[in-house]
Symmetry: C2
Subunit: 358 residues, 2 copies
């Protein structure tokens, strides 16, 4: 049987939907699909490695609904978030006569969620979407909130806001994650702790390692709650609320790019948070103790906290083409204290250079 730990409701103007968090949920996918009135045709968009292990049980779960599923196998890696792969998925949907009442199941990490989510957002003006995030990063962040996109001459240049009908977060999936990927997801969990829910930091400072199941369940639930509340307040990222979740991301994205993605997303965000916190100290907003506390927590989970040998000028040039640039000025999230972020509209490249050299 499955063990449902919590259900986080996300109420946006475009859709209200549940995030089911628990263990062994994947075997009972049909229960969650039918609770949300999904039937008809399904497309399972995933990677071969996941399909090999879980494809069979997902398909048979769907068959229990008297429905069929077509499997769409997408190569791993950011390169799959392309117009080319998108078109291939459209082709499968057209060939299989998908209609407006059909459903796409995005089963994977952020790449699958973004790509399959954008397909669902744009096929026949939007069809049903189920997110089944397979990584910690996707479970606490990208599967909730409707940001979907593909890359085109830049990251996430083509995209939409498109909420799923439901999210199925099976914590069993985390057990087979490589430790580096799990810790990378923890970087986003730590971000919620810094920006929204300080209790997360207390938990991470005091829990045993490796993290017990009940602690993971609590951290994921708390993170999903943070994300849900913020998305509800600012679904389309227009009101300087959702942007708070970009703490660590402006410098982080630039670091990710400057490392040629050898530093993964979570690691880059870890480093980005440290430098954006240092910048907050340098500009007189934040007490320096917070930087030390942040570095300690990140280090406890093997996350990097400095740019080390990266080319600082390369990081700065990546910064210059960022979606968060408004009317040509760099916008950054700074900290006044834990749980108290602010938007700063006019940070100079000079101050960022200075802090990266610290």
């Amino acid at each position: 049987m499955f063990r449902l730990i919590s259900t986080v409701q996300v109420k946006t103007c475009s859709k209200c939907y549940p995030v089911y968090i628990g263990f062994n949920l994947l075997d009972f996918l049909n229960v969650f699909l039918s609770r949300n009135d999904l039937k008809g045709k399904f497309a399972l968009v995933s990677h071969k490695s996941l399909i090999d292990i879980y494809g069979g049980k997902i398909i048979s779960s769907i068959n229990r609904l008297d429905s069929d599923a077509v499997i769409i196998d997408v190569p791993e890696g950011e390169e799959s978030k392309s117009l080319n792969v998108l078109t291939q998925i459209y082709d499968v949907l057209v060939n299989n006569r998908f209609d407006r009442w059909s459903t796409i199941i995005a089963f994977g990490g952020g790449v699958i969620g973004d790509l399959a989510g954008f397909t669902a957002a744009t096929f026949m003006r939007g069809i049903n979407l189920v997110q089944i995030p397979s990584t910690l990063l996707a479970q606490v962040d990208s599967s909730i909130g409707g940001k979907v996109a593909i890359n085109y001459r830049g990251k996430n240049i083509i995209g939409a806001f498109y909420q799923p009908n439901l999210v199925v977060t099976d914590l069993n999936l985390l057990k087979s994650l490589p430790i580096r990927e799990f810790n990378s997801g923890l970087a986003e969990v730590i971000k919620y702790g810094v920006v929204v829910d300080p209790q997360i930091l207390n938990i991470l400072e005091n829990c045993s390692k490796p993290l017990p199941d009940d602690v993971i369940a609590e951290l994921v639930t708390r993170s999903c709650n943070c994300k849900a509340r913020i998305v509800e307040a600012d679904e389309r990222d227009e009101k300087d609320i959702r942007i708070m979740l970009n703490f660590g991301h402006t410098i982080g994205h630039a670091i990710e790019a400057a490392s040629n993605f050898k530093i993964n997303h979570g690691e880059a965000i870890a480093i980005g948070m440290v430098y954006e916190a240092k910048l907050s100290v340098m500009l007189g907003f934040l007490d320096v103790d917070v930087v030390d506390r942040l570095i300690n927590i990140l280090s406890r989970f093997g996350l990097p906290t400095s740019v080390n040998q990266l080319d600082i000028e390369r990081i700065l040039s990546s910064l210059r083409y960022d979606k968060k640039i408004k009317h040509g000025k760099i916008r950054l999230i700074l900290l006044k204290s834990i749980g108290n972020p602010i938007v700063h509209d006019d940070v100079s490249i000079g101050s960022i250079r200075k802090v990266l050299k610290m």
Copy 2:
């Protein structure tokens, strides 16, 4: 000076926006843009024929806001609603460093509105969109309500719901429309009369011809009001409300396709309305007098009312792949009386064949 006749407000959950209806509005575009806080970069997406005449005044109007505009010239015709042209527009936006606060102005008929609207919906997860409909059809229908799309292996297979920030409906633009195109737009006006606002039919039966300016202004305002109220009640076409506006369109679309688009959209909808009304009579819902009244009004404005020499089997085979097919059954809007449409979920191909042969 401009003459603003009416402002129809459209209040959807995703956006609230005004439709400005009047004469000579285009010369004062800057007034309407700044009323709605639009500044930054603009892209004017239109056809060469319109750019040649109006491009200069639109650009200088934008310059009055201390903003610049790039002009994107799209070939006329449905073929422009393609992935290929879409990608070309993305390229111009990336090359010109458009950001999330930039604006696309869709100036043209339904093709431009759909294509430029879909670009705005998907570039950087959605940028500002101004609709300036240049045809009667676009003014009363496609510019309002956020349906945007391109064609891919079928009409409007890739699309979104994306509301504009404002609509500028300059009735002067109608004066240079070919009479066939103007009448084609009247088919949609007549549809609003049949489905929502019977007063429209009274006006069309009793007005002088050619239609005087004040009558056109009233018909456009009434039509925009019909569209706005229905879109507000059912933005994403999920509640069997917005679908009522598909009266005439199920058979109409099939006729358009079966004629290889020699019969234009409005004309096809005119014929479609007649046969869907006849079907309503045949299935016992509607009094036959309504069909006669509808045929009289359509004929008064030179619109066709019968399939004549079209291949009926070709129409039927076009019907079989239609977005309005739900779980394999043909859904049609039928009439119980003027102003009283109903959704019928299970019309057989046989009854449609029979009525087309009447």
